[in-house]
């Protein structure tokens, strides 16, 4: 089949201090084959799944833009429109096509656009007409909108948080598109929105069990794909919230039934699966009272992967105040401190002001006499199953003995290489504070004897009462008291 593919993914936070234009994509990944513009594909792995698989299976693939950026604020309007219009331009040139496959985030905002994915998909549908299957792989932190459901044939979110299953979802989506093009399947969707906002780890029960059960359900006859989109709580939009999507082969009743059942289950477990609000003090007290081995504390509120600056110092100040030993912290985004460390060289001791550079959510800068212990011109880490190349990084030891990894590029901490490739022996550490909400889990859990999720102040705090929401649809749990939840799925047929 002739398949048109494109990726345009950005998780946009209404509360991020980091503005977003095309430059943010250029740093991370902006692949424009039609212009011959290919830039370091830091995120190549997640977006290229469908394209690579389709090429491998011998399809005629027309590849348009691949654009992914680290989460940050809503994109500058003109830049959003230019990328969107380039995709549409490429699609018009590629017509006729048999199918369209897209990797989108699901929680993308631009200035003047509450629902970028809905906007893009509607325009694509207009070009390809009503009969061509349009499949979308997206992030479970997407906020699913009616515009998306109306325009797409199939919406398929990853199931896992950490998102370890993008490659499987890509294959699954391609299978569905192949079946649809061959006339072997007529996908029909049922969706059920769930009025909750939160961050839910699929690594813990009872959500683990629910995810396993929906994977089981996908093996039933005529079930093509089941997604639980958790929603992205820092997008202040009317469609923010969780959504269950069930795609079946022409079986509306089955899709509706499963969507209602899963949504009810998910809603019922909301209290249990939400991440508890553990303060810095409580997290460090838990650590202090704890067992042997390595404790990982996730600084979830300063997660670059959710739009935070990743340069906050709340933990650092408290670690220093408590004079804790055998502690490492990273990665802290601080290009200025990195440049000072590079200029000073390995072994140098210098006065260094660390962090606290982006805004109020970054806390007060941390001043110390730091010793530079390692420099790396190109730090790499494992992220989403692939090696991700970051920029310059420096490891410094503070006067109070805390090892800190400073990074010149803003990216969440996915894997222990962020420390070990900077000469920090995690075997000799008792506590590592990582700037990440959950993606660290995939690679750190094998070496951790305990993981504590902490909630400091920050742009990705799960204490939602600290943000001023203006456009969010109320009532929503946990901010409001809700009437009983009765699922009434909506059926969508392209």
């Amino acid at each position: 089949m002739r398949l048109f593919s494109a990726s345009f993914a950005h998780e946009s936070s209404s509360f991020s201090p980091i503005p977003t234009n095309l430059e943010n994509f250029r740093i991370a990944m902006l692949h424009r084959p039609s212009r011959g513009e290919i830039v370091p594909p830091r995120f190549k792995s997640i977006e290229c799944g469908i394209t690579a698989k389709a090429i491998e299976r011998g399809h005629d693939v027309v590849e348009s833009i691949g654009a992914v950026a680290t989460p940050s604020g809503p994109m500058v309007r003109a830049d959003y429109e230019s990328v969107r219009d380039e995709i549409l331009f490429d699609l018009r040139n590629a017509m006729p096509v048999d199918a369209v496959a897209l990797f989108l985030h699901g929680a993308q905002l631009a200035q003047g656009y509450d629902d970028c994915e809905g906007d893009l998909l509607a325009a694509i549908r207009q070009i390809v007409g009503p009969d061509i299957p349009v499949g979308v792989e997206f992030d479970l932190h997407g906020n699913v909108t009616p515009a998306m459901l109306q325009a797409a044939t199939v919406l398929l979110a990853c199931k896992e948080y950490p998102h370890t299953d993008f490659p499987e979802r890509a294959v699954q989506l391609l299978d569905i598109l192949e079946a649809a093009v061959a006339g072997r399947a007529r996908p029909v969707c049922a969706s059920q929105s769930v009025p909750v906002m939160g961050i839910y780890h699929t690594t813990r029960q009872p959500l683990r069990g629910l995810v396993d059960r929906i994977s089981e359900m996908e093996r039933q006859p005529n079930v093509l794909g089941i997604s639980i989109a958790h929603g992205f709580p820092w997008a202040d939009t009317p469609c923010m919230g969780a959504t269950v999507i069930v795609v079946t082969n022409e079986d509306e009743a089955l899709a509706e039934k499963l969507a209602a059942q899963i949504a009810a289950e998910f809603y019922a477990m909301r209290e249990e699966i939400a991440v508890p609000l553990t303060t810095i003090d409580a997290a460090l007290d838990q650590y202090g009272a704890g067992a042997n081995g390595l404790t990982i504390i996730a600084d979830t509120a300063d997660n670059a992967g959710g739009g935070a600056a990743s340069d906050s110092t709340f933990f650092l100040h408290e670690l220093s105040r408590r004079k804790l030993e055998n502690v490492a912290l990273g990665m802290l985004w601080d290009p200025v401190a990195v440049s000072f460390a590079f200029a000073a060289g390995v072994g140098a001791t210098l006065p260094l002001r660390i962090g606290g550079k982006t805004g109020i959510q970054s806390g007060d800068p941390f001043d110390t006499e730091a010793t530079v212990t390692a420099l790396n011109p190109k730090l790499r880490q494992m992220a989403f199953g692939h090696m991700q190349t970051l920029g310059k990084a420096a490891a410094v030891r503070t006067a109070c003995g805390i090892d800190i990894v400073l990074a010149a590029e803003r990216e969440q901490t996915h894997s222990p290489e962020c420390f070990t490739d900077m000469g920090i022996d995690l075997g000799a550490k008792r506590l590592v504070v990582v700037k990440s909400a959950q993606h660290f889990h995939a690679r750190f859990s094998p070496i951790a004897s305990r993981i504590i999720y902490a909630v400091a102040p920050g742009a990705t705090s799960i204490d939602f009462s600290t943000f001023v929401y203006e456009r969010l649809k109320r009532p929503i749990w946990p901010l409001d008291t809700l009437p009983p939840f009765t699922p009434k799925p909506i059926v969508w047929r392209a």
Binding site: P17, I18, P19, T20, N21, E23, N24, V76, P335, V336, S339, F340, A341, F342, A343, A344, G345, A348, L350, P351, L352, R353, G356, K357, T358, G359, I360, S362, D364, P365, D367
Partner: protein
């Protein structure tokens, strides 16, 4: 005749938050011909190097060795210093035999483990050339001049003006004298008189102005080749720190010694008067607001990148916001992160920015403020002592009645273009705060209604008692009350 020309300039402050490595030199266009660094820009570098230009203008051959400049900062990383020094020596070796050596060396450079870089370099150059080959060194008046440098060079010619508007004319004079010495038409003799005082003396204000004119007039006397009046650079914190007078004569040591002593005594006598009218932040702001006429220029002297400060302190900015001042411009705040965020948001965007306070404690507390982005540019350059210096990614943002220029390549303000290129109007603003101690003066004073030198807390701390100086010789004015002869009488070779 053939002359070897090279330049190495770094004003080193041991109290700066900014470490200095090869990248800091690279940022300013490093040229190391022996190791091949920057040779793509050879023509441009040779064309803008005053010593080489002057030699060629006179019909002689100039072989250009390293040209290396970095913004003032902490002591130079040892490997970097060794690499540049080595390139000077290797380039010279390749050029030999030469009829003379002409170098620009700052005078206040310190590297890790080398307190006197200029003395170290001149001694090594002398060891290569042997005696009899003329060595002339042009320098900055903010140098600390050591016996190693003065003994090994035949002529040391610091600029006389602050702002340093006379680098080119002093270079011309140095070239003429070195050529005459190479022809053996003269034989330089010299005397050096240390003056036990430290300060930043503006030659634009009385009585320093009259004093410099008077000192320079000795150069018209028979037998006197040149006069140098140096101010010293306290923050290098080396044993040779301090002001001095150096006089070169044609083979007349006694005349040199007499003249140096005479000039030095008058210099020392003025020490209290020329200390500079430095006022506190509050005083600067209230004086500026009370002044009828515009613009008032406030020089933020302690946060001068040209003295090793970061250029991102927030003391004056915060004070102006607190009194709700309007029609104010502040620049340039070195804040690559904030400049980047403003440019990403784009012209017209409103966003919350954390401004300044990023390099260290001397930068003060960062300022959290809502701004509107008025302009973003990557291509702005300012005229800085004869060459065009790029500002890096830069933005003009507005917070209330205050326009703030944010830039990415750290440097002081030399030129109103730092504001005008972004559409701001320093000539008609009520108050303009410049991150510069004195070099702004040349281009700003023609339109300034009043100039205030403000001394907030900062890396170029003017209160020498609280700097933490360890090696500056004592007694030293204004820390102590030394006699004129504290460091002995004049000396010569």
């Amino acid at each position: 005749m053939k002359f070897f020309c090279a330049s190495l300039s770094h004003e080193t402050s041991k109290f700066s938050p900014i470490p200095t490595s090869l990248d800091n030199f690279r940022e300013e266009g490093l040229y190391l011909p022996f190791s091949g660094e920057g040779t793509g820009h050879r023509q441009a570098i040779e064309a803008s190097f005053n010593l080489a230009k002057g030699v060629r203008k006179r019909g002689h051959e100039a072989v250009v060795g390293p040209v290396a400049f970095a913004q003032p900062g902490r002591p130079v990383d040892r490997a970097t210093y060794d690499a540049i020094k080595n390139d000077i020596l290797r380039s010279l070796q390749c050029a030999m035999p030469v009829d003379g050596v002409l170098m620009f060396l700052h005078g206040a450079q310190v590297a890790e483990g080398v307190d006197d870089c200029e003395g170290d370099i001149v001694a090594a150059v002398r060891a290569l050339t042997g005696p009899g080959v003329p060595i002339g060194v042009a320098s900055d008046l903010h140098g600390n001049f050591t016996p190693a440098m003065l003994r090994n060079a035949d002529l040391v010619m610091p600029c006389l003006e602050y702002p340093h508007t006379d680098f080119d004319s002093r270079a011309e004079k140095l070239i003429d004298l070195i050529i005459r010495y190479a022809r053996r038409e003269i034989r330089p003799a010299f005397a050096h008189q240390r003056v036990p005082m430290l300060g930043t003396y503006y030659t634009t204000a009385s009585p320093m102005r009259e004093f410099v004119d008077w000192a320079k007039s000795f150069e018209d006397q028979d037998g006197i080749l040149s006069v140098g009046v140096t101010h010293g650079f306290a923050w290098s914190d080396i044993e040779a720190c301090g002001a001095s007078v150096m006089v070169y004569t044609d083979d007349d040591e006694a005349l040199a010694a007499r003249t140096a002593a005479q000039i030095a005594e008058r210099y020392f006598h003025m020490r209290q008067e020329i200390r500079g009218p430095h006022v506190s932040v509050d005083e600067a702001v209230s004086q500026a607001l009370a002044h009828d006429g515009r613009p008032v220029i406030i020089a933020d002297i302690t946060d001068n990148p040209g003295g090793g400060a970061a250029g991102d302190s927030t003391f004056l900015l915060r004070a102006l916001i607190e009194v709700n001042a309007s029609d104010v411009l502040v620049g340039m705040l070195w804040d690559p992160a904030a400049a980047e965020l403003a440019c990403r948001a784009g012209v017209g965007a409103r966003l919350a920015l954390r401004l300044g306070g990023k390099a260290g404690p001397a930068s003060g507390t960062p300022l959290d403020i809502n701004v509107t982005v008025l302009a973003c540019r990557d291509d702005v350059k300012q005229m800085a002592q004869g060459s065009l210096a790029p500002l890096g990614r830069a933005a003009l943002v507005q917070a209330g009645g205050i326009g703030i220029v944010l830039n990415s390549i750290r440097q002081q303000v030399f030129d109103p273009a730092c504001f005008e290129a972004f559409g701001a109007c320093p000539r008609t603003a009520r108050i303009v705060v410049v991150k510069s101690q004195q070099h702004f003066y040349e281009t700003f004073h023609p339109f300034a209604s009043k100039i205030i030198y403000a001394s907030p807390p900062g890396a170029v701390n003017m209160d020498y008692r609280s700097v933490g100086l360890r090696n500056v010789p004592r007694p030293m004015f204004p820390i102590d009350l030394p006699p004129f002869s504290a460091f002995g009488r004049t000396w010569s070779i």
